[in-house]
Symmetry: D3
Amino acid sequence: MNGSGGMLRADGRRKDQLRPIKITRNFIKHAEGSVLIEMGDTKVICTASVEEKVPPFLKGKGTGWVTAEYSMLPRSTHDRSPREAVKGKQGGRTLEIQRLVGRALRAVTGMDQMGERSIWIDCDVIQADGGTRTASITGAFIALADAFTTLKTRGLIKKRPLTDYLAAVSVGKVGGEILVDLAYVEDSAAEVDMNLVMTSKGQFVEIQGTAERTPFAKQDMDGFLAQGWSAIQTLTNLQRDLVGALD
Amino acid sequence: MNGSGGMLRADGRRKDQLRPIKITRNFIKHAEGSVLIEMGDTKVICTASVEEKVPPFLKGKGTGWVTAEYSMLPRSTHDRSPREAVKGKQGGRTLEIQRLVGRALRAVTGMDQMGERSIWIDCDVIQADGGTRTASITGAFIALADAFTTLKTRGLIKKRPLTDYLAAVSVGKVGGEILVDLAYVEDSAAEVDMNLVMTSKGQFVEIQGTAERTPFAKQDMDGFLAQGWSAIQTLTNLQRDLVGALD
Amino acid sequence: MNGSGGMLRADGRRKDQLRPIKITRNFIKHAEGSVLIEMGDTKVICTASVEEKVPPFLKGKGTGWVTAEYSMLPRSTHDRSPREAVKGKQGGRTLEIQRLVGRALRAVTGMDQMGERSIWIDCDVIQADGGTRTASITGAFIALADAFTTLKTRGLIKKRPLTDYLAAVSVGKVGGEILVDLAYVEDSAAEVDMNLVMTSKGQFVEIQGTAERTPFAKQDMDGFLAQGWSAIQTLTNLQRDLVGALD
Amino acid sequence: MNGSGGMLRADGRRKDQLRPIKITRNFIKHAEGSVLIEMGDTKVICTASVEEKVPPFLKGKGTGWVTAEYSMLPRSTHDRSPREAVKGKQGGRTLEIQRLVGRALRAVTGMDQMGERSIWIDCDVIQADGGTRTASITGAFIALADAFTTLKTRGLIKKRPLTDYLAAVSVGKVGGEILVDLAYVEDSAAEVDMNLVMTSKGQFVEIQGTAERTPFAKQDMDGFLAQGWSAIQTLTNLQRDLVGALD
Amino acid sequence: MNGSGGMLRADGRRKDQLRPIKITRNFIKHAEGSVLIEMGDTKVICTASVEEKVPPFLKGKGTGWVTAEYSMLPRSTHDRSPREAVKGKQGGRTLEIQRLVGRALRAVTGMDQMGERSIWIDCDVIQADGGTRTASITGAFIALADAFTTLKTRGLIKKRPLTDYLAAVSVGKVGGEILVDLAYVEDSAAEVDMNLVMTSKGQFVEIQGTAERTPFAKQDMDGFLAQGWSAIQTLTNLQRDLVGALD
Amino acid sequence: MNGSGGMLRADGRRKDQLRPIKITRNFIKHAEGSVLIEMGDTKVICTASVEEKVPPFLKGKGTGWVTAEYSMLPRSTHDRSPREAVKGKQGGRTLEIQRLVGRALRAVTGMDQMGERSIWIDCDVIQADGGTRTASITGAFIALADAFTTLKTRGLIKKRPLTDYLAAVSVGKVGGEILVDLAYVEDSAAEVDMNLVMTSKGQFVEIQGTAERTPFAKQDMDGFLAQGWSAIQTLTNLQRDLVGALD
């Protein structure tokens, strides 16, 4: 009798339910776009900073650039993690995440319509409870849209060069069940961990799935894609409400 | 008629007036002590993390250790600053500030009464508008006191080993006038910039004064010390209200 | 009339056809397992080195560890790439690939049955023509199996603790067509680039798909998975022929 | 009966007495200005090197720049200290000192009167017995003045653009007594350690005071300032004798 | 009766005998010149890459540049060596060898006749059994000559600007006997280890000799030079056969 | 009529003549052995520091270790050189020289007779005019001998475990003439540059010769060895006078 929507998770959520989402815009006054995104206890500050130049490989080509950096405050995690600036380099996980965030945002940005300028996305996790990379993408999209609004208001661009809304969610298999938006305690027990980055039209921008313990079957894959897409829709609907229609 | 308390600053403050202060405790759920301190538009997350070991030079001596790290989010500043983890090292200013924060807190901590454990203080600036190092110290003291409260609650220490309240404030000379708690626009125009770290009993823990443009006279020094002490009292009174009497 | 198996690729391959594969075992005399894998013009030396200790976090737990490192010779690529040892750090792409290789191999290794020892996998690309990460995984599995055979011959383990054969392949969408095992010229023109890591039983170990230019639809995803699985079977059959049955 | 000038220090000095000072000019033949300064057993080589360009942020502004670097030979200290070039970075103390030296010299230099050129100050401690940063400043001023003399002799500047003589001294509280120019054995036992950088006219350029063990009172502060100023006068008088009147 | 050519070495060689030499040209398809050189079990990939620019210090001088980099695959050695890219820097031995290789090649190159372009030599050891630096030089000369042939074929230079053939060999004293081309087992037991870099005309380009255990006498020196020169002739004759006459 | 001893060098020296040598012992008070060696205008501080432990690879073997580090003050050279601690790593030339110095000293040290302790040799060039590496070796030998004398005086060793005196000199070919002990102006014009490290008994410890422009002939080699040995004798005789007979 306990259907796929039944109560079973530690925080009382249904298997297919996202955590409570809270978006605070204009969180950092200096940035052209800035958002505090909270997915349950996961909290990330996403800022979008405009720089009036492009990397050397794009100079003179009339196109722009979007790039991202990611970091966690040392005590955003349960135990304190050493600071990467002290260790003298960014770790593999950090590089992997920030490359993902930048790549995903570029996939929905018309970089040839933003002028020869760069937008730097900074995702700084201040409290972590699983899903920091997906929250970063969902929040960064809003910060990016707001930065484009700022540029439009300043008369520097005619329209926001965004082709679609973009959100991300984690799905996973825990104790044989498919769950969406895993909290840390679920994530660390997951047999499979998958991150989906999709648009509001249901198209894929990025898929990353890992068998943490044992390889998984095709039917699990199908379940992940279905559940993930359902959750993505909730997120992109929220983005549409917040940043308005894309021209 | 315009006395030393007259209106003259950009944000409407009197020369001897602190910016509005807001302290949010338990800001990060994982940390033993955590505070968001806001001094006007300057916002710093201060966390205190307990680690059950001490640095090698203290091993087996029955004493504890308090140390600090400091960082600014890239877009905490007016223009985006490069991330130190990307540059591969902490800059001189960062090292100077975090050494100052750690040294100041140790001066009011009875390290022989906290057991062989370390407390890591992390001061992460999320929005900067001048006075980030002094806000860090004032906020970190509260996070430290709260971490000691946590240890006491867990039965690991008998009492909080703090000898006095500790706060910091900037004073400076701008346009020939002595001002307290300089905002960024004032700080960048200052002829002299001084940071005072003092206890609630009026004792000095640290003084750092720099003639940014032209050397300054003894009577300026006297003015800085008097104005600074007055402001420190407001801050340590607030600390007493929040963390309670020290045993 | 030109079906999915028709001639259309620059090197005369069918869309679903792998490049010629050549495996040279015992390529480096010092290593416990070593393979030169050639997939067309992509050539990677994979070695497996046994070290009689485990990382600190596993000490005393009676379990082993498998980890990987990846590098490209400076002139393995069309233009010479700067050497990472000279730049002073491994780049994000390198870290991402070597994390993937290690994770994938661990998913088919019974680490609790290999004793407290580590196996270091080194994948060094000596000539690159697309698909270096997938060739690394396919070749590294053989080097790993050979290293386990060496350990078994020395009487250090009873059986090779491998749960299944493991191979990887790239699939992508180029000019609207789904292709497998992309050569560099195809890869750089791809709209979508996906890497699949699967076992001989058809289970997924890792999936990484990226929309390089435009988001892709669910039906493309289905095509990638089908074509990829078909190619994986060819590779794992080859592995079975070479390393023999897993006990 | 033991007044403030009474005998009490390990090396027989009065409390307010500087150690013997020896200045050897033109110590390194290549440098435009170079000095070996000896304060007792503390010996520092200070060189001033002219470079005919300025940092990027000053390019084209018609102004010059003065900057400093500091280092200690590994065996300048009682026990050998690891070499920073081997560790791969300058430590926090080193960065703090060299920032101080550069800032202090700039405060007495008319940088808009020296042309678009930089002067690099190098302070290399060859033997350390306390007070290396203050000796560095006092010696570096002379090297800087000599480098300006060289530039004037070469017809590159009209006059030495120095606004005043500049010296530094340490003061501290040891066993309840205020001492000037602390030797290492005194410094390591000090309750308070303060460094003063002042001009010959009695103006402050920098003050840095630290309660090493216990916070200190306002009356201590007053004592430090008085004793320090007295010692500074001896040093700036010596500088005037050596480098001559400033125009 | 056991003359200087008698059988005495572990691999059956005479004291004055080189190991079997195998040269595979065009080993890496992308490079302008590339060679796999095998001296017994020592195997090195040498590539020569043309870059159409010169280092800053040569810009506009109408002259070219030849430089070299050296590396060993982690498992080229008996035990796995840590990867320099992971350690974050090239070690002293690596730097020493690559400086030697570049210097030696420049000594036989007419850099004023190659145009304003650089040739990067990469020597990557894939299997090591002693003499990797000398094999690198001997092989790199061939790769360099082939790169010049490529440039000539492309009409970018009139003739290959090489003044003589260039080879290198190790000589050493092991158990009181002088041996040439030491294998690893000999090298690690050697009392003296010397590397000679010479031209086909018998001139010296580089000599590096080290008493590993005990200083050696003049008569040993004479023996090293004689035996080394004899071996060099074999190598430069081989080079002449392969790359043809130098104009 | 101008024989090999005729006047021809810029500083009035004969071709076979060393520059004036000055040795100041006990130059740094903290070190167990310390020497300022001056060879003309080349000045190097050599210290020998005793550390009561050995590197990990020697632990428990009852033998000691001698190692060396080398550095140049930024303005020891004609133009200021960037500080290696600022660049974040030691350069190739530095590593090469310090490896040479350590290796040479170990060749005359009975490391099994010095107890499980290390001696760190630091060679810091304060003024450079050619021949800094050879002056470093000649001076470091004296510092090492003095450190052993200190250990003997403290009763920690019975005798100084040195097998012979050790000195180094440069020889070169400039304008077709063989010169010894090249000053910077000669060194930078040399066709061949060779460094010899020899003992007082005429045995070789190290030879490093480089054809800077054109390869050189066997007869030049013979000349270098003869002239170098003659100069070495002067240096080792001086060492014998200073440190006394070796037991």
